[in-house]
Structures are given as structure tokens and as C-alpha cells.
């Protein structure tokens, strides 16, 4: 086992004009499962390939354990990689696919056989060892790819979107299997995905990248509950966080949040806990609230009217376990697009769409006017200029 350290890792293309990975520094502890997540083209796969040695490093350094590996050949880095397409050798049997790295390392036949059988047992592939990859289902192929990785007993697993080719049901199953194998083997793992559910459920920590820049590295819980900036807040969570331009108004010791024509009272505990919030009184900021932090006022006992907004229902999506309700509120939405720049946090005129996750028993229908209760203690506040969280 080994830790992985990235120091100011940078990758540029087209003579430096395109920065795929920009000054990323990250310490992945020994045995840790780190998920690199971000939208398409954010540089997560490039970063992973630089750790693997498949991509040349433009600037910065990669350490595996105590070894500086910038110029080390991939085979000497003691890593195993699982590719998005699995990269199984189609002309070899499952046995030979799993045995390949051991055969290349000229390991004695008995040892190869022992390790392959062991990996096959762990991955429940014993019955398929003689088959070719083309004769396997997607999930079985994925397990063969895992087998080829674990059979080497490497110090680090690198996984590049290994579940993206599976259907939704199999993905859930394999997600749990990969997490369980990693937990059992305790091998340091760097896992790349664009799927936030994988990011939230599999890793010890999540590193979120955008345009090659590291946005936040934290536990899944902190990434979700304490997003460092508007991008992290908008990227993690489905449906995405509702974000609006708002203004803080101070009356005596109480802070109110003005959202268009609506005014919500902020709880004193919040203001006490985050003293920096008071400094924003009279200033514009961005406020965010997750759909599950909204509820039908009628379902909340003693809902304070100053925490509620009445709005018309635009769309109802009954998911069975809960109901996603789209309502139109009077506010200016803050949209986070593909870059850090706040120029891209734009306002729209008119009513803004607000998505709420209501209880499955909700009887709300299209066209109804519903009173929505805002859990103001769970609100997120971001600086209107920098996009950074005010609460962190």
C-alpha cells in the first residue's frame, strides 16, 4: 500500500494554450478511496492518467509512497488500472486476461494459477474462466477488469469511470461491490467518475474538479453540506441546489433574506454561528437551498409564516419514494455554468424555477398554489463576487 501525492500537477496541450489540469495539489492517504469527480472535460481522467504514467506531466510532481514517479514507467509504479471500456483482451480467455500481468512479470505458473483462482473466487468468476470477454455480460466483464487489477496486489488502484458502460441496476450493484473489495483489500484507490452518486457513495473523500482546477476535497458529507463555492453546490446533488440572487436586510438584531418580493427571516442561531453573515447585510449575495430542505408548509408542525413562500406549481414528478415539485418563485436565479467566473452567474428576469422534494404523500397538483416552507437553518450563502461560501 502507498499514499499518492500530487504536487502542483499541471497538464497543458497545444503549446500551453489549453490547460487540462491546472496546479492540482492533493494528498491521498494510504488505503484511502478518493473519488475524482467533475463534469466532462474537467481534467479528471487526465489527472488519473498522469498518476498512471500514461500521460506526460507538464509541470508538478507525482509521488507514490515516498517515490517520485514523474519519470517512472507505468509498469514500475506498482499500480493497476481499470479502464472505462475495461480494455479486456478480446482474444484471450477470462483466465488469461486475469493472468496476463502475472505472466508478463514471469511469475511461476503455480503462483499465477493460485492468484487467478483466488481473484476469480472473490469476484465470483470461477464459472467463466474459460470464456472469452465477448461471451460475458457487462457486469461480468467489469469484474474481469477488476480481477486483472487485484491479481497483481498493487499499491494503488486507478479506476477511470469503470461503471459508466453498465445499466443503472448493474451500476448500483457493482458500485457496492467495488467499494466492498476496496474496503476488504485496503488498497489506496483513485476513482474517476462524472456520476455524483458514485462520488457520494463510494469514496472516503471526494475531489471535485472544474476546468482542471481543484474546487474542493472533502468527505462526501462535507461536500454536500458545506460546499466551498457555488460550483460545488450546484454540481453535487440531484435535483440540483436552487440558487438565487438575494439581499440581506438587517432589522435591529434580526437578518432577513430578500428574494425578489419575498422575505425570509434567518434564524438567530445561524447568524450567531456564522458571524461573517452579518457583514453582508445590505449587500447582494447568492443563496442556495437544496430541494429536500423545502417542504409543504402544511406538513410542518407550527411552520413560521416568515419561513414560507406561496407559489404556483409548474410541474409535478412523482417518483414513488417522493415527489419532485417545480414551483415558480419571485427571485433572480443564479446559474452556475462551466467556469469559475462570476460573469457566468447570470440573472433571469421574471419568475425563477424552484425545485422542491416533497413527501410521497403530498397531494400537490399542477397549477395549485402551494405554501413552501424553507428550512432556513440549512441554507447556503455565497459571496456575490467570488462565489465562495460565506459559511465555511
Amino acid at each position: 500500500m502507498a499514499s499518492v501525492t500530487l504536487q502542483n500537477l499541471t497538464k497543458t496541450y497545444a503549446g500551453g494554450q489549453l490547460r487540462a489540469v491546472n496546479d492540482v495539489s492533493l494528498e491521498i492517504e494510504d488505503g484511502e478511496f478518493l473519488v475524482l469527480v467533475g463534469p466532462s472535460g474537467c481534467g479528471k481522467s487526465t489527472a488519473l492518467r498522469m498518476i498512471a504514467g500514461l500521460e506526460e506531466i507538464t509541470d508538478g510532481a507525482v509521488w507514490i509512497g515516498d517515490e517520485f514517479v514523474n519519470d517512472t514507467h507505468p509498469k514500475d509504479r506498482d499500480i493497476a488500472m481499470v479502464f472505462q471500456s475495461y480494455a479486456l483482451y478480446p482474444h484471450m480467455s477470462v483466465y488469461d486476461n486475469i493472468a496476463f500481468p502475472l505472466q508478463i512479470a514471469k511469475m511461476p505458473k503455480e503462483e499465477v494459477d493460485k492468484r487467478v483462482q483466488e481473484a476469480a473466487r472473490v469476484l465470483e468468476l470461477e464459472a467463466y474462466l474459460k470464456r472469452r470477454p465477448g461471451q460475458l455480460s457487462g457486469g461480468q466483464r467489469q469484474r474481469v477488469a477488476m480481477g486483472r487489477a487485484i491479481v497483481r496486489k498493487p499499491s494503488v488502484f486507478l479506476m477511470d469511470e469503470p461503471l459508466s458502460n453498465l445499466d443503472a441496476k448493474l451500476r448500483v450493484q457493482m458500485r457496492a461491490e467495488i467499494a466492498s473489495i476496496q474496503h476488504r483489500l485496503g488498497v489506496t484507490t483513485v476513482y474517476v467518475t462524472h456520476d455524483q452518486v458514485e462520488a457520494m457513495t463510494m469514496g472516503h473523500r471526494v475531489a471535485l474538479l472544474k476546468d482542471g482546477v481543484l474546487q474542493q476535497v472533502d468527505t462526501p458529507s462535507n461536500i454536500y453540506n458545506k460546499p466551498r463555492n457555488t460550483f460545488v453546490a450546484a454540481f453535487i446533488g440531484s435535483p440540483t441546489m436552487n440558487m438565487y440572487w438575494a439581499e440581506l436586510e438587517k432589522e435591529s438584531d434580526t437578518l432577513f433574506l430578500r428574494l425578489g418580493d419575498n422575505r425570509l427571516k434567518l434564524p438567530a442561531t445561524l447568524v450567531e454561528q456564522f458571524s461573517s453573515l452579518s457583514q453582508y447585510a445590505g449587500r447582494k449575495l447568492i443563496v442556495g437551498i437544496r430541494p429536500e430542505d423545502l417542504a409543504e408548509a402544511s406538513s410542518i408542525a407550527n411552520a413560521d409564516p416568515s419561513d414560507c413562500i406561496a407559489a404556483e406549481v409548474d410541474l409535478v414528478e412523482a417518483l414513488g419514494s417522493d415527489v419532485i415539485v417545480h414551483i415558480g418563485i419571485d427571485a433572480k436565479p443564479a446559474e452556475v455554468r462551466s467556469s469559475d467566473s462570476l460573469d457566468e452567474i447570470k440573472s433571469k428576469a421574471g419568475k425563477a424555477r424552484c425545485i422542491a422534494r416533497f413527501n410521497a404523500k403530498s397531494q400537490v397538483r399542477l397549477g395549485d398554489t402551494v405554501t413552501v416552507w424553507f428550512d432556513t437553518t440549512r441554507m447556503h450563502f455565497f459571496d456575490g463576487e467570488t462565489g465562495l461560501s460565506i459559511l465555511n
Binding site: A52, L54, A87, F100, I104
Partner: protein, 298 residues
């Protein structure tokens, strides 16, 4: 109020019949044309086959299309060309050259193709362009310098000039064919092998080569056909009668000085000589089309 829509089924059927008749007539005309062209093209071949099966004296004497006397005598006489020297020897010679040419082309062209398709080295694109350029050089331009070179090193009247260049990736077309095929193989397979610790040779030998089977099969088939049918090179490099190959030996039936030529034996042996090419082609037809189709040559 909904309108009632009506149609005449009889009229519809008549229209359909008319369309069907026109289609049939067109098909008939096209087939008649194609069969006529086919007959014109096949006539010499059929004539040769029938001539091989009639007595020597009837070939040019009896102008009838179907032989009056059927015989296999031409095959027996043709096979035993003269004395101890039979066509068995010529076939052995041809097959040895073909086998070595195939092995040489498969190994050397695939290695060169792997380098062009997958490795990064300085001047790669220049070399690739030069290699493609050589495809445009007619063989006749290269012939004399090559002959002088092989004569100087004492290789004339051996199979070496016909075989050794194949081991040196001499056929640019096959390199190009394989480069195109190898480029289409997923890069991730090779990257997985790199991470697994495979060297250049192991990646080529254990991953790329087995996956390039359709392109290799195409190369093997074309090399066999080209080499087996290659009259010109074999004629100039192989001078001793016992070293001759099938296409060169067929020439022995004819006497260019105006003496007696054995046309019966010639036709019989030409017929037999088509066998290996036809057999090889039919046996590998599936692989051949797969290999060519994968290249987008079609």
C-alpha cells in the same frame, strides 16, 4: 362529422400488378445483358478447359466447341514435362517461395505497421510518406538496379531475391493495410498492457498481432496470390530449369523459336495451376472480405 374514406381494391391490385411486371421486365433485361457479358468474358476460359480435355490434334483442327473425343492424356503428358522433371518439382518450388514470402510479409510488414501505427519516433510521418511513395514506383523502374545488385552479391538463380525482401517489409501496400487496421484497435488495450508491464515486443506479439488477424489474413492471401502468379520476377531470377516455379514452367510448353509447342499440355497445366489460387481464395474468402472491409477499402 367523420368522412367515410373509400378505395377501389381492384384498381389498387391492377396498379400493383403493373408495377410488378415492369420491375420483372427490367430485371430480365438486366440479367440478359449481364449473362451476355459474362459469356463473352468466360468464353476463353471455357474454351481452354475444353481444349485441355480434347486430343492435342483436335485443339486447333476441330473448330467445334464441344470435343468429339474426351481425354485426360494432356494432363498426364503435361505433368511429366520432360524426363525426370515433373510439375511436382515446380509446385514444390512455387510453394516454398509462397510460404517464405507469406511468413516474411506477415512478420516484417506487421512490425513496420505497428511502429507506424502505435509508436512515436522522430521522422515518423516523413518515413510513412516515403513508404507510401514507394507504392507508386512501378516494378519496372526498380528491376534493373535490383537485378544488378542481386547479381553482384551472387543471389541470381536462387530464391533469395524473391524471398529476402519480404522479410525486410518490402511490400508498402501491406504495411499501409495493417497500419490502417492497427490504428482502429482501441488504444486502451495497449495502455492496459503498458500498465500490466508489457514491453513493446510483448504488446506487439501478444496483443496487437492476434487482434490484427483479419488484416494478417488479407496480407497472407494477397501475398500468396501475388507470389504464386508472379511470372516476371521469377523468370528473371530463376534460370535453372529445376528451380523454376509453376508460372515460369508453363512457358516451357511453348517454343518461341517456331518449333513444336505443346498446347494440350499447356492448357491442362494452366487449368491445374489455377487450383491452388482458387482453393486458397475460397478457403480464406470470409477473412479476406472482413480484412478489406475493416480497412474501409470496400
Amino acid at each position: 362529422m367523420a368522412t367515410v374514406k373509400t378505395y377501389d381494391p381492384e384498381l389498387l391490385r391492377a396498379e400493383r400488378r403493373k408495377r410488378e411486371n415492369i420491375r420483372r421486365l427490367k430485371g430480365l433485361g438486366l440479367h440478359a445483358l449481364l449473362i451476355t457479358i459474362l459469356g463473352v468474358m468466360l468464353y476463353p476460359v471455357i474454351w481452354m478447359v475444353l481444349s485441355a480435355l480434347r486430343p492435342e490434334t483436335e485443339i486447333f483442327g476441330d473448330m467445334g466447341f464441344i470435343p468429339t473425343n474426351w481425354t485426360l492424356e494432356n494432363f498426364v503428358r503435361g505433368w511429366q514435362l520432360y524426363g525426370d522433371l515433373t510439375f511436382t518439382q515446380f509446385y514444390v518450388n512455387s510453394f516454398i517461395i509462397c510460404a517464405l514470402a507469406i511468413i516474411g510479409n506477415l512478420l516484417a510488414c506487421s512490425m513496420a505497421a505497428y511502429a507506424f501505427a502505435r509508436l512515436e519516433f522522430r521522422g515518423k510521418w516523413w518515413l510513412f510518406a516515403i513508404m507510401l511513395g514507394t507504392m507508386m514506383l512501378p516494378i519496372h523502374v526498380q528491376l534493373i538496379p535490383q537485378y544488378i545488385f542481386f547479381l553482384n552479391i551472387g543471389w541470381v538463380n536462387t530464391i533469395l531475391p524473391l524471398v529476402v525482401p519480404k522479410f525486410l517489409a518490402h511490400d508498402a501496400f501491406f504495411i499501409f493495410l495493417m497500419v490502417q487496421f492497427m490504428r482502429s484497435l482501441p488504444h486502451e488495450l495497449e495502455q492496459a498492457a503498458i500498465v500490466d508491464g508489457a514491453s513493446y515486443w510483448q504488446r506487439y506479439w501478444r496483443i496487437i498481432l492476434p487482434l490484427s488477424m483479419p488484416a494478417l489474413a488479407t496480407t497472407a492471401v494477397f501475398t500468396f496470390i501475388n507470389t504464386y502468379n508472379d511470372f516476371f520476377s521469377q523468370l528473371i531470377y530463376l534460370t535453372d530449369t529445376d528451380r523454376m516455379t509453376v508460372p515460369v514452367a508453363l512457358r516451357l510448353f511453348l517454343d518461341p523459336s517456331g518449333g513444336s509447342s505443346s498446347f494440350g499440355g499447356l492448357f491442362a497445366m494452366v487449368l491445374v495451376s489455377i487450383g491452388p489460387v482458387l482453393g486458397f481464395f475460397l478457403a480464406s474468402q470470409r477473412l479476406l472480405t472482413k480484412g478489406i472491409a475493416t480497412q474501409g477499402f470496400k
